[in-house]
C-alpha cells in the first residue's frame, strides 16, 4: 500500500515524458516552417538554417528586429537561386529571454530540425549558455547581436558578425571631439544589469582617458529603470561637456530625453544599444544630435545594402536597424559559405555532421560583402569588419521622423 504514491508519481513522470514524445511524433519529419514561408520553402530538400532569437519576453524587440532581417535575407537569396538551385529555409525558434529557453531552442534546431547552422541567440548571457551546446554538437553558430567579451572564445564552432564593443565605441568619441575639440569633462552612464552595456562602458572610459579627457562621474542605472532624474541632475551639476551613455534603446532614450529636459545642452554619445530606430520613438525630437557609433549604416554604399534597405523600407516603412542588418549578414555568411562549399563538394551528398564541420571551416575562411560592409573572421571566430560608422540622429521638430545621418 505504501507503494501507491510512488507508483502514481512514477506514472506521472512517464506521462510527462510521453507527452513530449507524442508531440514530437506529431510534428513528424516535416521540420518547422517559418511563419512567413518563401515560395520555395516547401520543397523538402531546402537547406535548413536555424534562427534562435527572442520573440517573447522583454528582449523580444531585439529578436523581432533580427528575425525581420533574416527573413529578408532568406527571400533575397532564394530569389537569386539559393545554393546552386537549392533554396535555404529558415527555421525560427523563440528563445525567450531566458538561458534555458535558448538552450531548448538550440537543442530543437540541432537535433529535430537538423539545421546546418544557427544564427543567434539574442543576448550574450544566453550565448554563454546555449553556444556550448552547439559547440558540443559541432554545429556552427553565428551570433548576430552578441557583443560581450568572450563569445567567439566559447569554442571552434562559435563565431559572430556583431562587432564587439571594443572596436566600435571609440569612433564616436573621436567624432565628438571633431565636432567640439574643447571637450574636457565627460560624464559616463551605463546600465549595470546589461552585460553588453557594462563591457561597452569599460571601452568608452578607456577611450576617454586615452584621449586625455576627464571622467567626472560614472552613473549607473538599470535597463528596467525609467526615471533618471537623480542620476541626470547629479551629472548635470558637474557641467560635463560630453555625456556617454551605454544602455539599451528604451532606457537610454529615456535618459537622453530627461537629460535634455533638465537642461543639458552639450553632446551626447549613445552606445551600440542606441542602434535601432526605436530610439526615435522614445526621445523623439530630443534625440536630435545624439552621436552613435555603428556597425551598420543604412547609408552604406554597396549593392546588397541598397537592396536590403529598399526591401526593409518597403516592408516596415522605416530604416533598417542594425540588428536586422546583422541578422541579414549572418544568413548571408551561411549562404555564401554554403555556396563556396558546394563548389568544392556537392553539399547535398555530404552527411549532416560533415556538412556542419565543413561549413564551419568554410565560413571562417571566407570574405563577405554584406550590408554591414566587407566582413571576415579571425581564426577564433570574431568578426573583422572594415567599415564602422558614426551617425548623428536627426529628428524633425515634431519628433515623428528620425534617421541616422552619417558622419564622415
Amino acid at each position: 500500500m505504501k507503494k501507491t504514491a510512488v507508483r502514481t508519481s512514477a506514472l506521472f513522470v512517464a506521462f510527462a515524458f510521453l507527452l513530449s514524445a507524442c508531440t514530437q511524433t506529431n510534428s513528424g519529419p516535416a521540420p518547422t516552417t517559418t511563419t512567413n514561408p518563401s515560395p520555395t520553402a516547401g520543397s523538402s530538400n531546402a537547406i535548413p538554417i536555424g534562427i534562435a532569437l527572442a520573440l517573447t519576453s522583454n528582449v523580444a524587440l531585439l529578436g523581432q528586429e533580427g528575425v525581420a532581417g533574416a527573413k529578408i535575407a532568406e527571400k533575397y537569396f532564394n530569389d537569386k537561386g539559393g545554393i546552386d538551385g537549392t533554396p535555404i529555409k529558415l527555421v525560427i525558434q523563440d528563445t525567450g529571454g531566458e538561458e534555458a529557453g535558448a538552450i531548448n531552442a538550440f537543442q530543437t534546431l540541432i537535433t529535430q530540425s537538423q539545421v546546418v547552422g544557427i544564427v543567434g541567440p539574442t543576448l550574450s548571457q544566453q550565448a554563454f549558455s546555449a553556444d556550448p551546446i552547439a559547440e558540443r554538437a559541432k554545429v556552427p553558430v553565428l551570433g548576430a547581436s552578441n557583443t560581450a567579451k568572450g563569445i567567439p572564445e566559447i569554442g571552434d564552432y562559435v563565431a559572430r558578425v556583431s562587432a564587439p564593443v571594443a572596436i566600435v565605441a571609440p569612433n564616436s568619441v573621436k567624432a565628438a571631439l571633431k565636432i567640439n575639440p574643447n571637450i574636457k569633462k565627460v560624464a559616463v552612464f551605463y546600465a549595470q544589469n546589461d552585460a553588453f552595456s557594462k563591457s561597452e562602458t569599460g571601452t568608452f572610459q578607456e577611450t576617454v582617458k586615452e584621449q586625455g579627457l576627464d571622467v567626472v562621474t560614472v552613473q549607473k542605472f538599470q535597463t528596467t529603470d525609467t526615471d533618471f532624474q537623480t542620476q541626470a541632475t547629479n551629472a548635470i551639476n558637474l557641467k560635463p561637456d560630453l555625456i556617454i551613455i551605454s544602455g539599451l534603446a528604451t532606457d537610454g532614450g529615456n535618459l537622453v530625453r530627461q537629460l535634455r529636459e533638465l537642461g543639458y545642452k552639450n553632446i551626447i554619445i549613445g552606445g551600440n544599444g542606441f542602434n535601432t530606430s526605436s530610439i526615435f520613438t522614445v526621445c523623439k525630437a530630443l534625440c536630435d544630435g545624439v552621436l552613435v557609433a555603428q556597425a551598420y549604416s543604412p547609408d552604406h554604399v554597396n549593392e546588397i545594402n541598397k537592396t536590403f534597405r529598399t526591401t526593409y523600407l518597403n516592408q516596415y516603412k522605416k530604416e533598417p536597424p542594425q540588428f536586422s542588418a546583422q541578422a541579414f549578414a549572418a544568413v548571408q555568411v551561411y549562404v555564401e559559405a554554403l555556396q563556396a562549399l558546394d563548389k568544392k563538394s556537392e553539399i547535398s551528398k555530404l552527411p549532416l555532421a560533415q556538412l556542419r564541420t565543413e561549413l564551419n571551416k568554410q565560413l571562417l575562411a571566407g570574405k563577405y560583402d554584406t550590408p554591414l560592409g566587407e566582413i571576415a573572421f579571425t581564426p577564433v571566430g570574431d568578426v573583422i569588419q572594415k567599415d564602422f560608422y558614426v551617425a548623428q540622429l536627426k529628428v524633425d521638430k515634431d519628433g515623428n521622423n528620425g534617421k541616422f545621418a552619417f558622419l564622415k
Binding site: T226, D227, Q229, Q231, L262, G263
Partner: protein, 316 residues
C-alpha cells in the same frame, strides 16, 4: 552637503516618490478592501498607458497582431487620459469577475487569490505583446501643450531643474490622495466602502451591496492604475508590455512600508522610498533597489503593519 544639491535631491526624491505613490494608491486600495495583493495592478497600469496612447490616435508598431493599426480618432491628451483610465477600470472590473470573485465565493485562501492575480498579470502583459509587439511607444511631444520641459526651482546660477511632467504627477497624486481621502472618510459611499473593508458581513447586514462595492473598488483602483500608467508613460514613455511589472515590485515595497491598506501610507511610503533612492550616493546607486527592498525586509520584521498601518490582532 551643498544646500542646492540637497534641495535638488530632495525634490528629485519627491518626484520619484510621487510616481511610486501614484502607482501605489490604487494598489493599496484593493488591499484595504479585500486584504489581498492584486499583482495584476502593474499590468493594468501598463494597459492604461496603451489605451490612452491608442485613443490619441497614435499608430502601433509592426510586430504584433495589430501591426500599424491606429484608431480613426485623435483625442486630446486629457480626454484620452480619462477614457483610457476608464477602460483600464473596466478591465479591472472584468478581472475581478473572472479571477477574484470565484475564489471569494469559495472563501479560498487569500494566497490563491494572489496567484490568480499573477496569472492575470501574465495574460494581460503577454496579450499586449501579442497584439502590439514589444516596442516602446511615446506620447506625442505636445502632450502637455506648451509647458516648458523643466521648471527651475533654484536660481539662474544654481539651477534646480525638475521636469514639468514630474511636477504634474506630484500634483495629481496629491489631488487623488485628497479626493480619495475625502470620498472614503466623508461620504456615505466611502463610509460604506470602509464598512465592507472592515467587516463585509456586517456591511451586508446594513443593506450595503458588498459585491457592488468590491466591483467599485476594483474600478477605482484600476482607473487609478490606468491614470498612473498614462502619466508615468507621459514622463518616461511606454518601454514595452513589461512596463508596469517593475513598478509592481517596487510598489509592493512602497505599500508595505506605508502600511498595507493605508491610503495616506501609500503616498508616505512612496515619498520615503523616493527620497531614500535620491539620497543614495552616486557610487552606490547600483544598490538602489537593494536599499528599497532591504528596508522593506527590515520594516516587515520590525513593524509589519508599516508606518501608518494598523496592527491586526489574531483572535484566539
Amino acid at each position: 552637503m551643498d544646500i542646492t544639491l540637497f534641495v535638488q535631491q530632495f525634490l528629485n526624491g519627491l518626484s520619484i516618490g510621487s510616481i511610486y505613490a501614484i502607482f501605489a494608491l490604487g494598489y493599496t486600495l484593493i488591499f484595504s478592501i479585500l486584504g489581498i495583493i492584486n499583482f495584476a495592478h502593474g499590468a493594468l497600469f501598463t494597459l492604461g498607458a496603451y489605451f490612452t496612447y491608442a485613443l490619441m490616435g497614435e499608430a502601433f508598431g509592426l510586430n504584433g497582431l495589430l501591426a500599424n493599426a491606429a484608431l480613426p480618432v485623435k483625442l486630446p491628451f486629457a480626454l484620452a487620459l480619462i477614457l483610457g483610465s476608464a477602460l483600464a477600470g473596466l478591465v479591472g472590473v472584468a478581472v475581478e469577475r473572472i479571477a477574484f470573485r470565484p475564489l471569494r465565493r469559495k472563501r479560498a485562501d487569500s494566497l490563491l487569490t494572489v496567484v490568480s492575480s499573477l496569472g492575470v498579470a501574465l495574460v494581460i502583459v503577454n496579450l499586449i505583446q501579442y497584439l502590439v509587439g514589444a516596442e516602446n511607444y511615446t506620447f506625442p511631444g505636445n502632450t502637455y501643450g506648451n509647458l516648458p520641459a523643466a521648471i527651475n526651482f533654484g536660481t539662474a546660477e544654481k539651477p534646480i531643474p525638475i521636469r514639468t511632467v514630474q511636477v504634474v504627477i506630484f500634483g495629481v497624486s496629491v489631488v487623488i490622495l485628497t479626493i480619495l481621502t475625502y470620498f472614503i472618510n466623508r461620504t456615505k459611499y466611502g463610509k460604506a466602502m470602509k464598512a465592507v473593508a472592515e467587516d463585509p458581513i456586517t456591511a451586508s447586514l446594513l443593506g450595503i451591496n458588498t459585491d457592488g462595492f468590491i466591483v467599485l473598488t476594483f474600478f477605482i483602483s484600476s482607473f487609478l492604475a490606468g491614470l498612473a500608467g498614462t502619466l508615468v508613460a507621459s514622463s518616461v514613455s511606454i518601454p514595452g508590455p513589461y512596463f508596469g511589472i517593475a513598478f509592481g515590485l517596487k510598489g509592493l515595497a512602497v505599500i508595505v512600508l506605508g502600511g498595507l491598506g493605508s491610503i495616506p501610507g501609500a503616498v508616505l511610503g512612496g515619498v520615503v522610498i523616493g527620497l531614500i533612492e535620491a539620497f543614495v550616493p552616486a557610487d552606490y546607486s547600483a544598490y538602489k533597489d537593494a536599499f528599497a527592498f532591504g528596508i522593506l525586509f527590515i520594516m516587515l520584521l520590525v513593524r509589519p503593519q508599516g508606518l501608518l498601518g494598523r496592527r491586526f490582532v489574531q483572535k484566539v
